[in-house]
């Protein structure tokens, strides 16, 4: 009896996190479907049409070949910034001189409208692979560097003092106290950086040369095949969300065992 009672009580069901998460997605999808059926614009397909196009494109290899092209510059770009950016941020957090020297560049870069800078890249790097990598770096670097810097600069003083009192050397202080303490902000920066890098890669494909996933959007728009165009956009959202979630798992695994759900 008690089982049926708890199952029937709606507040109990709603209190479960996954129920609300699924519900929130469903609400958005229903709104999408409704807006597509009205329709708000002839260029706005319903969710079901988009989903059908999505499955088609998955099956006929459109996505596979497009992502193969987009992932190259994205991975190289994000890989470069992840290593270089975290390193730069950590060094700036540890050394005031490095901070005075380097920080303003990234603050300015973060405030600058990057999408407007991307066309300029072609003057320097042409329209090839390097230009796209540069676009990814340009968008992902500021957030990665600034977050790493903030994480390190704001590592708890009391923990550092504790390390000092037990005669930690510099290497121990950095690796055993400062970096783990900063890991939350560093990884938040990496997640945002990955998302930004993805924006950079797509922008480069839309603005510089039509290739990869960016090209899918441009191409199907020109054909007025809106379900396929939206399926391409949907794939970007899904891809970005999944990779960011994976990155979060990696962080918990590497640095924050106490936050892992047991």
């Amino acid at each position: 009896m008690s089982v049926t009672q708890t199952a029937l009580r709606p507040t109990r069901v709603l209190a479960r996190p996954w129920v609300l998460r699924v519900l929130s997605i469903l609400v958005v999808l229903c709104l999408w479907e409704w807006a597509g059926r009205v329709p708000v614009s002839i260029a706005f397909p319903t969710f079901t049409d988009t989903l059908a196009a999505f499955v088609d494109m998955l099956a006929d290899g459109t996505f596979a070949s497009a992502y193969a092209e987009t992932l190259g510059p994205l991975l190289v770009g994000v890989g470069l910034t992840a290593v270089g950016g975290v390193l730069a941020g950590v060094v700036m957090g540890l050394s005031p001189r490095a901070q005075w020297f380097g920080l303003p560049v990234f603050i300015v870069l973060q405030a600058a409208p990057s999408a407007a800078i991307i066309p300029l890249i072609t003057f320097v790097y042409g329209i090839g692979f390097a230009a796209k990598v540069f676009a990814v770096v340009l968008l992902s670097a500021p957030v990665i560097v600034l977050n790493s810097y903030r994480g390190v600069a704001n590592a708890p003083r009391s923990l550092i003092e504790m390390g000092d009192s037990f005669q930690a050397n510099t290497r121990q202080r950095v690796w055993k106290i400062v970096i783990p303490a900063a890991s939350g902000l560093i990884f938040a920066g990496l997640r945002l950086g990955l998302a930004q890098g993805f924006t950079g890669a797509i922008l480069a494909e839309l603005i510089i040369t039509p290739t990869g996933v960016g090209d899918l959007i441009t191409y199907y728009r020109s054909l007025a095949d809106y379900p396929r165009m939206f399926a391409a956009i949907l794939s970007i959202i899904i891809f970005a969300s999944v990779s960011i979630t994976l990155l979060q798992r990696l962080e918990l695994r590497l640095f924050r065992p106490e936050m892992r759900p047991s």
Binding site: S158, S165, F166, Q167, A168, Q172, K176, I177, P180, F255
Partner: protein, 270 residues
């Protein structure tokens, strides 16, 4: 009125006591040019005893302890540990922090072993030492949990285990029970005394609680309000053999608390 035996302030200043593990000599600490935290502080800490530093809030108790720990530089004057002037943190001193200062990403065992880890003691060895002290502070069975899963009192026990595990002769405790509630605090005070009775440590204990200072101390250094100087040094040295309740009800205990309160009260009024 029979006064408990007391060292006069003059006797404590300048003249070395028989066997001082730590000597604080004419210690002055300014922060910038405006803030004079400590204005010429001198006292001796007898070896193997527990010395409390107590005084009005903002009187530089914690700063004094940090200078002794080597975590802060004195503006002038010096601190000597075993006759050698302190120039920085050393293996002869271990500190227990008011805010526990535990690594949130490390288990109780790793936290307790962290002092040894920093000294490069191999994992197996340091964990076996840490395990022993985790048990001694009453946390056996909690080795693999994380600090956020523990209460404030239990976290400070981990901090104490970490300090004891490095086997320093001198234990520096900075208001260790300040963030612990009253019931837990009393139990912790007793446990601390029991633990120290077979450890042969010299302890310097900063507190703002008169009752706590009287209960745990062999010697109490009372500071004046900043820039602080030594107001007086007293030695309650209560006999703990009769058990904690009878100590806390004893006339000697209550007299000492009253005496120190009156001493401190005079600094609060002006």
């Amino acid at each position: 009125m029979t006064e408990p035996a007391t060292h006069s302030p003059d006797a404590a200043v300048g003249t070395p006591t028989v066997d001082a593990a730590v000597r604080v000599v004419d210690l002055v600490k300014d922060f910038g040019s405006d803030v004079h935290a400590i204005g010429g502080l001198s006292f001796d800490v007898p070896r193997g005893e527990l010395t409390s530093i107590i005084g009005p809030s903002g009187c530089g108790k914690t700063t004094t302890l940090k200078v002794i720990a080597g975590l802060a530089e004195p503006t002038s004057g010096r601190v000597e540990v075993e006759g050698r002037p302190v120039t920085g943190p050393g293996p002869d001193r271990a500190m227990v922090f008011q805010d526990f200062a535990l690594l949130p990403w490390a288990t109780v065992l790793r936290n307790a072993a962290f002092g040894l880890e920093l000294k490069g003691v191999p994992r197996r060895e340091r964990e076996s030492v840490a395990r022993e002290y985790v048990a001694k502070v009453g946390l056996a069975g909690h080795e693999d949990v994380y600090p956020h899963q523990l209460s404030g009192g239990m976290r400070q026990r981990v901090g104490l285990a970490r300090a004891l595990a490095v086997d320093a002769d001198i234990l520096l405790m900075d208001e260790p029970f300040a963030s612990v509630d009253e019931q837990i605090r009393r139990k912790f005070q007793e446990d601390l005394l029991n633990l120290l009775s077979d450890e042969d440590k010299t302890v310097i204990f900063v507190t703002h609680s008169i009752e706590e200072a009287v209960y745990v101390s062999d010697q109490i250094v009372l500071l004046t309000r900043g820039p602080s100087t030594v107001s007086t040094v007293v030695r309650p040295g209560l006999d703990h053999s009769a058990g904690s309740d009878s100590v806390r009800r004893s006339t000697a205990y209550l007299d000492w608390v009253e005496r120190i309160w009156q001493e401190l009260e005079s600094y609060l009024e002006n």
